[in-house]
Every structure is written in C-alpha cells, then in structure tokens.
C-alpha cells in the first residue's frame, strides 16, 4: 500500500475529567492524500474539531490522553513525536484555520506581522522580508490594497477580511495539509461562499490537501472528495462524496440530509430536524450511541456497539444494518408513512 500523506488510524482520545471520562474521539480512522479534500461532518460536540486538534498536539494533556491509535504524517507518528518536532510541523507543513476570525487574530499586532509570523518562525525570515511576503499573501487571498492593509490592526478588518488574513497566515509556509475548522461558520452567507471559493481556488494553485471541518453538508458537498460523518466521537460513515450523498448508509446521515433546508419556494416542505440532543460524551448510551435518536432502532442497537465496517469498496458505516437491503426498504416505508 502506498504511503498516504496523512493517515489517522483508530485514533482514540479521552479527557479524564473530575466528572468522568469524556470519550471525545473514539476509534477514528481516515486517510488523506496530496491535493485531496476531506469533509468532516457532524453536530456540535461530535468530536470533529477535537480529532484534528489531537492530531496537531493542541489538546492539553492531561486532562486529554491518547488511549490508542495513531496519526501519521508522511509516515511519522504525530502522537509519539516530541513537542519540538511537532512544533516544526505545525504552521509549516500542517496549518490550521479557526472558526471565529473575529477572535483568532491578536488584537495588539498589525495584521501584516501576524501573517508574517509563521515565516519568521519556520523559514527564519527577517521581519522585513516576512512582511514583504505577507503583502503578497494578502494579495493572494484577495485583500485589496495589501501594501496599506498590512499596517492595519485586526479591528480595522471586517469579518470576511479577517478570515482571508487567517487563510493567508495558514498558507504562509505553503503547507501540505490545511485543516479548516468551520472556517465559514461565523461569516455572512455571501462571504461564506466567497471564502469557500477562495479555498478551492488556492488549493488548485498550491496543491495542498484540505480537511474541512463543518456541520454544514452543503459546504462540503461541492468541495470534498471524501466525507467522514462523526457522531459522539465515533465515525459513523466514511466514503467518497458521491457515495455518502447518493447512497448514504447510516440513519444519522439520512437525518443530516433531511435537515438541510431546501430553496424550493413553490412547494414548501417541512424541515426535518433530527430529534433529540447529541448525547453527553461522559455518559454514552449503551450499544449504538445514536440509538435513542434513531427512528429505526432495533433491540440489537441498544445492546451491541456497531463496529465500523466497509459495505462496498471504500464506503462504510458503523450501523448493524448498513447495506442490509431489507432494513433500508423497511425504513423507507416508515418514512413514507
């Protein structure tokens, strides 16, 4: 098997808190190759971000602890690597964009200096050279008049522009992997589309792989090559975008699809949210974590934890009945009624 750029293998990380063990990441596996985009989808608290943060070594340990599994970047384990080694990778080979651009920039420094910082840390550039480079980066992400704008402070930037600056910062060292943690969640819808477009455009230009973490299936639909659906720290379904969108296997994925609002003005259809709340990660339901909210739960779902298994080729799910045609037929009938 050829070596993948990034390989997450049964990664499991628990927080040991006073209230009990929080199973934040539980047996997550995926691979990422050069130039590919992986969409990680799930509700809040499903462990999407924590998986990425664990990989990057950005989780405080303790209370966090990697129980088992590994994350390998270019064949080297990020989990067992020394902190100094990981630091050389962070921001250099794997970069990250955070959710809220309003708070992710340091208010006391000029934007240019912040965009230049990774270059000063990793490429040993002088401040002057790095800021010169920052001007080009800001131009690349579509900030008008970057020569003047590098001298601005973050509060002089609008939300969309700040997220552009964050992207410029992440791209500064030309990383192989770009982890985008809900990069559009805090932005206006029109700006969201621009940022998504910008990321795709830049990916074409730089060839970096992207991990797009989002709770919005719409965002990853036309961007991702593959999709990982997460629920309560576990992987629920994993496959190519087409597979997940056209032949979803897991009832949770069905629920996610149904809860996308449609733009149909003529025929008003009712929005179908998934009922109930995501479970507490301290006190997971027995068996399949999704069974209390699953409309099709069977007795087996309450007692047995479904393992992730491949159903066809590269497409798999963690459901006892995934790929079982009788089950699917039974469910669609129920949906009709």
């Amino acid at each position: 098997m050829a070596e993948h750029l990034l390989e997450v293998d049964d990664l499991t990380m628990y927080f040991h808190t006073r209230d009990g063990v929080v199973k934040a990441v539980d047996g997550v596996s995926y691979t990422l190759d050069k130039g590919e985009t992986l969409g990680v989808v799930g509700e809040s608290g499903s462990g999407k971000s924590v998986t990425a943060l664990t990989m990057m070594g950005l989780i405080q340990m303790p209370p966090g602890k990697v129980e088992r599994g590994d994350a390998r970047f270019k064949g080297r384990s990020l989990i067992t690597m020394k902190e100094e080694e990981v630091r050389k990778i962070r921001g250099n080979e794997i970069a990250m964009i955070f959710q809220d651009p309003m708070t992710s920039l340091n208010p006391v420094y000029r934007v240019g200096l912040q965009v230049a910082e990774p270059l000063m840390i990793h490429k040993g550039m002088s401040k002057r050279d790095a800021i010169k480079q920052a001007v080009e980066l800001l131009r690349l992400v579509g900030i008008p008049n970057p020569e003047a704008r590098v001298k601005d402070y973050p509060h002089q930037f609008s939300g969309g522009m700040r997220q552009r600056a964050m992207i410029a910062m992440a791209l500064a060292c030309d990383p192989d992997v770009l982890i985008a943690d809900e990069p559009t969640t805090a932005l206006d819808v029109t700006i969201q589309a621009q940022i998504t477009e910008l990321m795709q455009e830049l990916q074409k230009r730089t060839g970096s792989a992207i991990i797009m973490i989002t709770h919005d299936l719409g965002v990853v639909a036309d961007m991702a090559d593959r999709i990982l659906v997460m629920y309560a720290g576990r992987m629920v379904e994993y496959g190519t975008t087409d597979e997940v969108f056209y032949r979803p296997l897991h009832p949770y994925t069905w629920g996610l699809m149904d809860s996308i609002p449609t733009h149909n003005l003529v025929e008003k259809s009712e929005l179908c949210p998934i009922k109930g709340q995501p479970p507490s990660l301290v006190n997971l339901p027995s068996g399949c974590s999704f069974h209390p909210r699953c409309p099709y739960a069977q007795p087996k779902c309450v007692t047995d934890v479904p393992a992730y298994r491949l159903v066809d080729g590269t497409h798999g799910a963690s459901c006892h009945f995934a790929g079982n045609p009788d089950f699917v037929r039974g469910c669609s009938l129920e949906v009709m009624v």
């Binding site: 340091n106 008049n145 402070y153 910062m169 621009q194």
Partner: protein, 347 residues
C-alpha cells in the same frame, strides 16, 4: 469615529474586496455590477491608499490609549504634576544649591541666623530648624521618594510578572507551588515586615538601598496574583490557540501573544503602587528606619518638624502635602490608565 461611520467604513471595505476579488464568486448571488474600468479602479485604490496613509500614523494601540488618557482631565493634571516633579528632582543638582543654598548639609556659621525663617523671596517656603531651605529640601526629598517608589515597584513587577506568568501558563504543580508561596507572602503584615528587616540592619547599613529592597521584595505577590489571573483569561483566547497552531514556542506564546494582552492591569496597578511605595518609604523614614540624614526624605522631614508643629506648621505641612499630592497623582494616573488601556472602551 462614530459607530455609523465605522459601519460604513466596513461595508465599504467589503465592497472593495468583492470588486477586486481575483476569484470572483458566481454563487455568492451578488449582482454583477458594471465592469470597473481600469482608470476607475485605479482611482478607487488611490483613495483607499490615501485614507490609510492618513490614519495609519495615529492608529496604533498606544496612540489610541494616549488619546483617551488626554481626555481624562484629572489624570492629565496628575501626569503634569508628576512630570514637573520628576524634572525638578532630576535636574536638582544643577540649580537648587545655587538658588537656595545646599539643602543637605548644615552650615554651622549661618545655621542659627537662618533657622526657621518665614517665607521670603530667597526662601519661598522658609527654612528648617537647621537653616536649610525648605523648597530645596522638598525637591531633594522628591528625588528620594521617586527613586524608592519607582525602583521598589520595578523589583516587585519583575518578580511578580515572572512568577505570575509561570503560574498562569503552567497549570498544576508549578501553579500551586507559586500560588501557595504568594499566599504566604501576602499573609505577612507588610509594613511590620519591612520594619523588622530594616531594624535588624546596623544603623550604618540603613539607607535608600535597603528600603527599596525591602519594599520591592515584599510587594511582588499582588503583582503575581494579578498577572496570573490576567494570563489565565487571555490564554483562553482563540488567537493563543492560533499562535500555537502556527508553531509558536511556549516562550513566544507567553511573551508575544499573551503578555501584551495581559499587561494592562499590571501597568495600572504598578502606577498606583508607586504611590503606596512612596507612602511606605515615608512611614519607614518617619520611624527613623528608612533614609538616613544627610539624605533627605519627606518622611524624615516630618519627624524632624513635628516637635515644632505648633509654632512652625510649615515644617510638617509642606512635606505632608508633597506626599499627599504625589500619592494621589499616581493613583489618579493609574485610574486614567485603566480607562485608557481598556480595549473594551474602544471608541
């Protein structure tokens, strides 16, 4: 800038951004406006550039703080008073002796004839029991007070910042150890402890140095506490995580990302503490444990003058007034700084 102007400014930027956006988005649902001719785009960019050149100079964070401070009249008066006093104290050697006579040494030939003179042109505030000019002595007293105040607070701040930073940045054992040590130090009766330290020294070793050290070495716990709290809250900010995610080291995170955002309350408290240190120095000198003659200290002047307070109240009044004015000035300035440095009050 008013709020609505600010809004306009932002929207304006967003539009400019869309217009000059290289990867124009078709899905964004933005109406495709008339194409901007090259000339127009050029003009537009120039306008943006001009605006930025104009306000770039005054728009630093410290510039903003200074502008807010200037609007606070009390703080400004306090600042002016302190600047005057510092200037007088620093330049004292150049002019005080020449105008008012040597304020420190006793000239036995003229001491008797010059003692306890009422204010005249030659001695604007009169003379003391040894025939030395009061104003000259007050100015030299300012020198001692300011030296003690500033140096002691610098010592406290340095120790406090260091321990507070460690404590706030590394939770767990480091934090617990430092905080327990802080608790112990805070439990000492501050002035009594200073008195104890100074009283143990032989008289010949007493002076400005031991006073600075004893005040400075006992003052750090409050700074450590304050800075720890500040670091703890700043540490939660996304930009610290973002800094970590670009590969910044612990020291870089602490000194470049956290410190500048966490230092404001320490600056404020330090300013106010200078007044406190001056007060402590005055108290110690009043008790005879602080600054020793012939060096001049306001506290010592009060001790010397109190015997004659009935007949010559000026001997106590002037140094007392100086202490009050200086301490109040530092407090008011600290207060003004608190408002000026508060980012939340940004207009």
């Amino acid at each position: 800038m008013t709020m609505s102007e600010h809004d306009k400014h932002e929207r304006h930027d967003e539009r400019a951004l869309v217009e000059n956006h290289p990867v124009r988005d078709s899905r964004a649902g933005l109406p495709a406006g008339p194409p901007i001719t090259e000339e127009l785009a050029h003009l537009h960019n120039d306008a943006v550039a001009d605006r930025h050149d104009n306000d770039a100079a005054g728009r630093t964070l410290w510039g903003d703080a200074w502008r807010r401070l200037r609007r606070n009249r009390l703080a400004l008066i306090a600042l002016i008073w302190l600047v005057l006093m510092v200037t007088a104290a620093v330049s004292a050697d150049l002019w005080v002796s020449r105008l008012f006579g040597d304020p420190a040494t006793i000239n036995s030939a003229t001491a008797m004839s010059n003692r306890l003179l009422s204010p005249t042109l030659a001695h604007p505030l009169g003379t003391d029991t040894m025939g030395r000019d009061m104003l000259g002595r007050l100015i030299y007293g300012a020198r001692a007070s300011l030296t003690v105040g500033l140096s002691a607070v610098v010592i406290s701040v340095v120790i406090g910042l260091l321990l507070g930073a460690l404590s706030g940045f590394y939770p767990g054992i480091t934090d617990s150890l430092i905080m327990r040590m802080t608790d112990i130090f805070l439990a000492f009766p501050y002035i009594l402890f200073c008195i104890l330290i100074l009283a143990m020294l032989p008289t010949s070793a007493r002076g400005i140095g031991p006073v600075i050290l004893s005040i400075g070495l006992l003052g750090w716990p409050s700074f450590a506490r304050l800075f720890r709290g500040s670091v703890l809250s700043v540490k939660e900010n996304d930009y610290v995580d973002a800094g970590r995610a670009i590969g910044a080291s612990d020291s870089r995170l602490m000194f470049r990302h956290i410190m500048p955002n966490a230092i404001a309350p320490v600056i404020v408290y330090a300013t106010m503490s200078i007044g406190g240190a001056i007060l402590t120095e005055a108290a110690l000198s009043f008790l005879g444990l602080g600054i020793q003659p012939p060096e001049i200290s306001w506290g010592r002047m009060i001790t010397d003058g109190q015997r004659l307070m009935d007949t010559n109240p000026g001997l106590v009044f002037w140094p007392g007034l100086m202490i009050i004015l200086t301490v109040v000035s530092f407090t008011l300035l600290g207060d003004g700084l608190r408002d000026a440095l508060d980012v939340k009050m940004k207009d």
